[in-house]
């Protein structure tokens, strides 16, 4: 029966292939004309339209079939070209260049420096039409940390999507303290080894066109017509110097068999000499500042190892997983002959699969198989000579020569599988969306949707995907020799898809599972793309020598563990770095994770401690202990990430920062709004470090399919609702009416926090507008935004930037299909401008009461909030957590140097420059609480939003007054009395009056606060003028009755 079905599917498949290839040709033709229009799109801002267009770039596969590419295995000797033409960087094509270039000599090579903006072109003369690739010889020109990014164009167009984006890496050189392993790393006070410093070096590297994701291990090739060819690079990030540009054929590479034959021919013998060991943690250079020596404590024989101290004894691991990242080592041999390169490594990350590296010796691949070295999975450490799974490789080294070996991350043979699965995910996503549009996200199982009649192609396509998945499974198990949980994901997905394809009735019932499985496939892809290898050492040993020991023997392990156990009684693992007993050390507390604390600690050691010479003791504490510690008088000098500092500040437990000399300079690093919630009555109590606004995430693929665009205003957003709902989709909206209120210039507060402002028409309108979104437009109130965004049910979602990070990891299957934008705005009818300003939530660093050395602590805050630190920290977080660790910093300048792409950065810049924050005033917790109550009543009980909010106004004010009394602040009733007495309408007038009367500053708080030590405050003034709350109320009553016609001032004087 199963055979029959398979045959049937095969038959259908054949039919689809025919139709499919027809479609591809059609698409390619369409692509032709589209590509011409694409010329300038990248210059303009990334609007939805350009997104859609750049998404319509054809793929490399389509490009190859369009121009008749012959795959390597089908090539005859005549098909391998050997053409090569080089143009010097300085001989650029001025006609097609609009960047401001300059000529500069770097390391004795004259080169063209191309800036981060504008494009540069080179002209070539191609004698014969054919397939060529392009190689650039480049060098960095400065010591910036960001990767160099460029857009590639051939004859003015981007040939296909894989060739669009280029990322050229810098060369990072390690700085060791000494020449031997023992003194290579600087120890900290306790003796733990610190990671070495690294700096970029201006070296000449080559970049041959390649796929950014490493899905193709060969260089990308282009079909270039005879005649003139123009290669151009458009700047995206950072300057780069180009020495030469070369168009050349991809040459056929030697196989290992050829190399062996050569060895035999020349009579090479195994070397006779000692093995040479390279400690992997001591490379010469690498391509990323994040590939620094790490440590392994698990194995007793990792070299070197220590029972209590941290020895940096390995490299790689999760910091060396993405394709293209390389590490270089140098060595010399004692004897001439054949050697094995043996590594001690651990690959315990990708179960049942192997990960890959390629090796270059002196900049060249020695043979084809060297591009696909295989590192098998095992929970333990392993020792093995370099192998591709079939042969173990021998290398010929000569005595006294210096050799450079370069290990680079590659996807190896997995590249093809990943490519295939990527394609399958795309196809399944399309099928899913097609079905979803007909059935909705919760299809009726018992209904016959007539899918085979309405969308036969979708069902046929599903069948095709099932077969494709099965063949992928076969391929993987063949390569790895075993089946594992990694192949199981593909197998199970295949079973489901096949069931849906063969039995139409199963489609509705399994639509939900299909969605889940698409997502699992995406996760699978991320997992297997991550090429984890942790290296302990590289042993260059004469061929035929015995392999070193891979793991500690039982006895060695036992001794090591016992030593560690006994050491645990006296070793201090907690204080990171400097000794905790050191007197006068600046104590800094953080309640972030241990990894984060370690990063902070390293940065303190490398930065602040070095610069100032001060000892810093960083302590990792549980959250919420700050208050108690201040109370007990054992608090820190600086507290990082403290919650609700203002509640403590108003009770005098936080040191105000305005008094420091460089205060204004430090604060100028942040947007104005960042200061707002940490400032009270002119005093600022924290230095902001994090700022979290909302963004609007859009599924561009869905919006463009539905003919919608990214909404500009809230009204635009609401007008999308009917279209989306018709397609069974919805919008994920944040429940925050401050967005509307502050965009229209409103506020939560009035009169410097003496009362809330919810009884104003504007506030009530805004609140009602928001509630209507959820009642009349029935937007969902509770939802799992990430999931629905991922599945496409919720193509528009207002959310914090953490969604960006989640999607990077959690939803690789939709990468490139979505973008984030400013939140919709409110149209200002007078000016015609749209106000996009967005609320942001601020976290900061504070200096608690009892700080022993305030000047030093301030220097620390200054350093901590500075661009350099913030950039380093953010980069370290990305290294630690991968793309999900990207940070949004409150330091505006720092944002520029992070790993955001240009368009992302533009959005971030726009959003951050346009934020607001809600002021803190005593009693603010009641405000948010009652807004929540009113919202809940309006949405669950069907109550009138305005009525609900109004009913809470007096409750909120009562609490505000109560709190203000506690802090001897002017309360609303007193203010009413003063207003009536003086005739002022705003507190500013009152403050000005107070300043002129008392001869003080306008910000003098005696005007509104009965400060204990002050000799004269507003209370004294009220007493003097016989202004009291009681008699004011009496006057109000009397004047309402008509008993008195006197003004309040006259009335009191009477």
């Amino acid at each position: 029966m199963k055979e029959k079905t398979k045959k049937l599917i095969a038959l259908i498949m054949a039919a689809v292939m025919l139709i499919g290839s027809g479609l591809t040709v059609g698409a390619a033709k369409a692509g032709d004309t589209e590509n011409d229009d694409l010329k300038d799109i990248i210059d303009s801002n990334e609007t939805l339209q350009t997104m859609t267009e750049s998404m319509s770039l054809i793929t490399y596969e389509a490009y190859k079939s369009k121009y008749g590419y012959i795959e390597d295995k089908d090539k005859t000797d005549a098909d391998w070209g050997d053409f090569e033409t080089t143009v010097d960087g300085v001989d650029y094509d001025a006609e097609n260049t609009n960047a401001e270039v300059e000529v500069k000599e770097i390391n004795g090579v004259e080169a063209l420096v191309t800036p981060a903006e504008g494009s540069v072109a080179w002209k070539f003369d191609i004698p014969e039409t054919g397939w060529y690739t392009v190689t650039f010889e480049y060098s960095a020109v400065d010591e910036s940390k960001a990767d160099i990014e460029r857009l590639f164009r051939l004859n003015g167009i981007i040939p296909y999507s894989e060739a669009r984006y280029m990322s050229m890496q810098r060369t990072w050189v390690y700085e060791y303290a000494g020449d031997t392993r023992e003194d290579a790393f600087v120890p900290d006070v306790i003796g733990n080894e610190l990671a070495p410093e690294m700096h970029t070096e201006l070296t000449w590297e080559t970049y041959t066109m390649k796929d950014f994701y490493g899905h193709y291990t060969k260089p990308l090739e282009f079909y270039v017509n005879e005649g003139e060819a123009i290669v151009s690079l458009q700047g995206v990030r950072e300057s780069v110097a180009i020495a030469s540009v070369k168009i050349h054929s991809v040459a056929k590479e030697r196989t290992y068999k050829d190399v062996l034959d050569e060895y035999e021919e020349k009579g090479y013998k195994p070397a006779e000499g000692e093995a040479y060991m390279i400690e992997a943690e001591l490379p010469e250079s690498s391509s990323s500042v994040m590939i620094y020596p790490i440590y392994d404590l698990s194995s007793a024989i990792t070299s070197p190892q220590h029972t209590t101290l941290i020895k940096r004894n390995t490299i790689g691991g999760d910091k060396w997983v993405s394709p293209g990242k390389w590490i270089r080592y140098e060595f010399k041999c004692e004897a001439t002959g054949l050697y094995d390169i043996v590594t001690r490594y651990r690959q315990d990350a990708v179960n049942g699969m192997y990960t890959s590296r390629s090796i270059k010796i002196n900049g060249e691949y020695p043979f084809e198989e060297a591009k696909n070295l295989r590192f098998d999975y095992n929970a333990d450490w392993q020792v093995a000579p370099l192998t591709d799974g079939y042969d173990t490789f021998q290398f010929y080294f000569e005595k006294g020569e210096t050799y450079v070996i370069e290990l680079e991350v590659t996807l190896g043979n997995m590249a093809e599988i990943i490519r295939r699965v990527d394609q399958i995910i795309d196809n399944l996503n399309d099928d899913y969306m097609a079905i979803l549009k007909l059935t909705g996200n919760d299809p009726d199982v018992n209904r016959d949707y007539g899918l085979s009649r309405i969308m036969p192609d979708v069902i046929v396509n599903l069948g095709g995907q099932a077969l494709a998945l099965e063949s992928a499974v076969d391929y993987i198990s063949e390569m790895n020799g075993i089946k594992s949980d990694n192949t199981a994901t593909l197998e199970q997905a295949a079973v489901l898809v096949e069931r849906m394809a063969t039995d139409e009735a199963e489609i509705a019932a399994n639509l939900g599972s299909l969605k889940e499985w698409i997502s699992s496939l995406g996760t699978w892809m991320t997992n297997v793309s991550s090429q984890f290898v942790e290296l302990d050492y590289i042993m260059i040993q004469p061929t035929g020598s015995e392999l070193p020991q891979a793991n500690a023997s039982g006895w060695q392990a036992f001794i090591y563990e016992m030593q560690k156990f006994f050491a645990s009684f006296y070793a201090d693992y907690n204080s990171i770095g400097t000794e905790s007993t050191e007197a006068g050390a600046l104590s800094v507390w953080t309640s972030s994770g241990r990894d984060q604390a370690q990063i902070i600690k390293n940065l303190i050691n490398e930065g602040f401690a070095k610069e100032t010479g001060a000892a810093v003791e960083l302590k990792l504490t549980a959250g919420g202990v700050l208050l108690q510690s201040i109370l007990a008088g054992v608090g820190p000098d600086v507290s990082i990430d403290s919650q609700s500092p203002m509640e403590m500040a108003i009770r005098g437990a936080i040191v105000p920062l305005n008094k420091f000399d460089t205060f204004d300079e430090v604060m100028s690093r942040f947007s104005d709004s960042a200061k707002v919630p940490i400032t009270l009555y002119g005093e600022t109590y924290a230095v902001p470090t994090g700022q979290v606004p909302y963004f609007m995430f859009c599924r561009n693929d869905i919006l463009s399919q539905l003919g919608l665009s990214v909404p500009e205003t809230w009204d635009d957003l609401m007008s999308m609702v009917p279209v989306l709902q018709f397609n069974n989709m919805e919008i994920g909206m944040a429940q925050d009416f401050s967005l509307f209120l502050y965009q229209q210039g409103g506020s939560y507060w009035r009169d410097e926090g003496m009362a809330n402002n919810f009884d104003s028409t504007l506030a009530l309108d805004c609140f009602e507008y928001m509630c209507n979104m959820f009642t009349q437009y029935s937007l969902p109130v509770n939802f799992d935004g990430t999931n629905r965004f991922k599945t496409g049910e919720m193509p528009v979602l207002i959310s914090g930037l953490d969604l960006y990070n989640t999607l990077q990891v959690f939803a690789p299957e939709i990468s490139g299909l979505w973008g984030f934008y400013e939140i919709p705005g409110t149209l200002n009818e007078e000016t015609g401008e749209v106000d996009h300003s967005c609320i942001s939530f601020i976290s900061g660093v504070v200096m608690p009461r009892g700080c022993a050395n305030e000047e030093l602590a301030w220097d620390f805050l200054d350093w901590y909030s500075d661009k350099d630190y913030q950039v380093d920290y953010a980069n370290e977080m990305v290294a630690l957590l991968g793309p999900s660790g990207k940070q949004a910093l409150s330091n505006i300048e720092a944002m520029d140097e992070l790993t955001w792409t240009e368009s992302e950065y533009k959005t971030l810049q726009k959003v951050f420059s346009d934020t607001f924050a809600i002021e803190y005033f005593p009693g603010d917790y009641f405000v948010t609480r009652y807004v929540g109550f009113a919202f809940n009543s309006a949405t669950t009980q069907g109550a009138d939003p305005s009525d609900e909010l109004l009913s809470y106004v007096s409750d909120i004010n009562k609490e505000i007054t109560r709190k203000r009394k506690e802090f001897d602040l002017m309360i609303d009733d007193e203010w009413s009395a003063i207003k009536d007495y003086t005739g002022f309408t705003t507190t500013t007038e009152w403050r000005e009056f107070w300043a002129s009367e008392r001869g003080t500053d306008v910000n003098d708080n005696t005007a509104i606060r009965d400060i204990e030590d002050a000799e004269y405050t507003f209370r004294n003034w009220m007493e003097e003028h016989n202004v009291t709350v009681d008699n004011h109320q009496k006057w109000v009553r009397e004047s309402n009755n008509g008993t008195t016609t006197l003004s309040y001032k006259e009335w009191t004087e009477q």
Binding site: E647, P780, F783, Y925, R929, G932, T940, E966
Partner: protein
Amino acid sequence: MSKKKETVAVHNMSKAQWTWHLMKQYKVGYFMTIPFMILFFAFTVIPVFASVFVAFTDWNLLQTPNFVGFQNFITLFLNDDLFIIALKNTILFAVVVGPGSYIMSFVIAWFINELDPKVRAFVTLVFYAPSLTGSAYTIFQYIFSSDAYGLVNGWLMNFGLIDAPIRWFQTEQYIFPLCIIISLWMSLNTGFLASIAGLQGVDRAQYEAAAVDGITNRWQELWYVTLPNMKETLMFSAVLSITGAFGFGGIVTSMAGDPPTGYVGYTLTHHLGEYSGARMEFGYASAISFVLFLIQIGANMAINRALSKVGK
């Protein structure tokens, strides 16, 4: 220890002398309780008394407190609407959940007691598991999720009973009943285990004796034999469940938020947390905790009196 080393004339001694004499006699026992006593005093007794003192001040943790007399208590009873709501809710919870969980513990234990030992062990685990895991009630967040994909919402929508998801824990009328159901489900805790142990401890011979004495049905057996035999266990279990019910609040917080919409299900624990946390008014918070403490003591005494009537 039971051997007396010297004979003393009890009638010659004052009460204090007699106590001192006994303490000397059992000094090893006292010595052994010292570690516990130190902790008990440092973290329970002293804080309790300290909080009584703090209740008469306006302490905010950070600044020097002022003595304010009975002001906190006066405000509490006369000028704090939330306190009255919290008190009402707390008592309501305690009255429903306290005896409810207590009776449930006992009745279920009684049923289980009849089972085969192996089956009994399994069933006990099933009933005890929710409270064993501590925060198992978060499963209800999934069951009663406000999302359209929540279990209950999903079912109701599938059956066509509702057409938009109900936001269970944000809708005032559902919060209270749902929280009571959850706390009853969670309430088969230590008291329940004690009841099982108590039932196991009843001497089988007494049932035979009772049968001879003329007991005719299981109810009489329960009332005249089982329960009087388990008085201490019952006491233990009752104190646990009823005082526990007064300290109720964690479930409401994690299901409906703190404070819950419209203060439905807002209990004294929340009120206490609000003043010590959000408003940083420790003096006032201490006054609240003192009142809660008195209520719990009162409840204990009531339980004592009620249980003394068992078997009579």
